[in-house]
Symmetry: C2
Subunit: 380 residues, 2 copies
């Protein structure tokens, strides 16, 4: 898959700059893989190494400036970014801090303000001690929270972004369809996890940053554990939940199976979650809030207690803002990509979770994942 | 592979608490996947979601306290940690900040000091705005940099940790040995990347967080790019560099191949890098500094200009302290696991890099990866 056209990046940056102008922000400092990729197209797995920080500055006008370790200059040079400033990292004394400080000082007047995403679902990917040095070297310039500026732009996906998410969802659809090949009764769950990742790669994923799931009699215990060596047994419910990546974009959905006969309670739970997802699909249209989606699904589930999060944004990260929880009143807009993820407790310590990926259209939700079967499929 | 025994974690925590006592630190706050795993054994791929922060506090004495989202309580409950405090995350108003603040206030007197890794190769995995709130709620308690306390303990691997790294190195060895199966001339590089990840999983990796590499006539352009669709051609040098994971621990090494005849310059470069690695192996013993290892290898390479980093620590992360650079004077100690990673420029824009993984023993370096062949292997 080819890179995005420069116009795609120009539109993204213009969106950010519109928000910056409205908020009186003179430059935006970005440090994380999704934020840097979003404005530059710089895509590498090298972020896995915590040794080096990477910086991109979005000025009030014009293209971003990259302030990065020399080792990344070649790859950054293949993007649309022209102004690339490098230092030899790691530098134990000054790991890009002066170079970044000089860059920001050149773009922001002493009375100016520098935006930084420091709110919900963010972190600063640089040593905090270096940030404190940067902050004092740039005084009296002020650092201010610009999480909202970033999220309002990143939340709405362009047609090219939706295409990428649809592509990786289709990869996962094909891999899920082949689960009967790898999960006969008696196979250990960790073997299933390994083989499912192999299927995702074979079907076209570039890499598989996330796989979770579970298996247990009539339901599973939780949805974040790595797999153990317990063999799949008749009566189990198996769930696999993947965040695979292609061309930088994630899918994030799951599928459930009964191993032989997993009992009436499992089948009923499945039907309830299928119906809850239907309610979520019907509610997911521009103007509805994340909280509306929560209540639409929660009403069908009909359980008391802590329902957790019933979905979230999706795209450059496995999970993004907003959250489908009662307190999130973010309004759905055309082009937002979301997961719908209702879950319920079948019995104490036995849960089931469904998940689909959608894009919000003016006419309503459009599925990006193929809809799960209406009845709990059986592995035999 | 089973979890570590509780005594393993007690020894780690005792090591940290020794450093804390010497530095007058009353509690240590940890927020990243490797740090949290190191003291608790909490292993999950759920960190891929940036939606929720996770906290572990190491007190001056006794076991750590986990302050985590409810969704992780079940999995944390399977570790040796007894004191697990939870909140329903995400919480848009107070995402664990009060609970963490109360926990720290209960462990640290108002005149006390809270350690936090904020130095080189660290980052704080929580929203900075939340940290600032935490900091002011805990005043006059002081937050101080404790990067050194953490790294001095984490750098030296226990026998059980070395076993895990050896195990994942052996997985990668087996996968590298099978590269001729997947990389005949004419196959696209992105296909090779996909298939190599599949081999790693088949040979026993739990997941593959890192794969980089390159292919080009007589050398490759850089070592951090994702693969493109260019087919392998006679005369290319192919390199694959992987950080695969098993039971929470990484390998990180590479291998090179000629596609047919890649020319004398490639063969000579390979021999030089092989010899440079030999020099690094000979130099890698307790008492030598990281800079000594750099110079031992750099002397053999014999090139001017920016040599970059010629290796680094390895374990819970793809890369860890120290760095094999001229300015890093960290002294090698028994049990440190390192990569040796010499590289050189064969021609302008054409490089080659070798990499092996070792553990420092009193008698000298012990290889954890199988030594690369002495001559550039050929794919035909």
């Amino acid at each position: 898959m080819k890179g995005f056209a420069p116009d795609e990046f120009r539109a993204r940056v213009a969106g950010l700059q519109g928000g910056m102008a409205a908020a009186g922000i003179d430059a935006l400092l970005l440090t994380t893989p999704p934020d840097v990729f979003y404005v530059t197209g710089f895509l590498t797995r090298f972020w896995e190494s915590p040794a080096r920080p990477w910086f991109v500055v979005v000025p009030a006008g014009g293209a971003p400036v990259a302030v990065i370790p020399t080792i990344g200059a070649d790859l950054m040079g293949k993007t649309w970014i022209g102004d690339i400033r490098t230092w030899t990292a790691p530098d134990l004394i000054d790991d890009g801090v002066s170079l970044l400080g000089d860059t920001l000082a050149g773009l922001v007047a002493p009375a100016g303000r520098i935006g930084l995403p420091i709110g919900h679902e963010t972190h600063l990917r640089m040593p905090l001690a270096d940030f404190l040095r940067l902050q004092s070297s740039l005084a009296p310039r002020e650092f201010v929270d610009s999480t909202d500026i970033l999220r309002r732009v990143r939340e709405v996906k362009s047609p090219a972004e939706v295409d990428r998410i649809r592509t990786i969802c289709a990869v996962a659809d094909r891999a899920f369809a082949r689960v009967p090949e790898i999960a006969p009764p008696g196979v250990a769950l960790d073997h299933v996890f390994r083989e499912f990742q192999r299927l995702l790669l074979q079907e076209g994923a570039d890499w598989v940053p996330y796989l979770a799931g579970g298996a247990g009699p009539g339901g599973y215990g939780d949805v974040i554990s790595p797999a153990d060596a317990r063999p799949l047994s008749p009566g189990d419910v198996l769930m696999l939940d993947t965040g695979a990546v292609k061309a930088g974009y994630f899918c994030d959905f799951d599928r459930n199976w009964a191993v032989g006969d997993a009992g009436d309670a499992s089948r009923r739970a499945y039907e309830t979650l299928y119906a809850a997802t239907e309610a979520g699909l019907a509610a997911a249209r521009p103007g509805a809030t994340a909280a509306d989606l929560f209540h639409a699904m929660h009403r069908v589930i009909g359980q008391d207690g802590d329902a957790g999060r019933l979905g979230h944004g999706l795209g450059l990260s496995l999970t993004e803002w907003p959250s489908i929880i009662p307190t999130d009143h973010t309004v759905m807009r055309e082009g937002m990509v979301m997961t719908l993820e209702p879950g319920l407790e079948i019995a104490p310590g036995r849960i089931m979770v469904h998940e689909e990926n959608i894009v919000i259209r003016n006419g309503g939700a459009e599925l990006l994942s193929a809809r799960a079967p209406a009845e709990l499929p059986v592995l035999e």
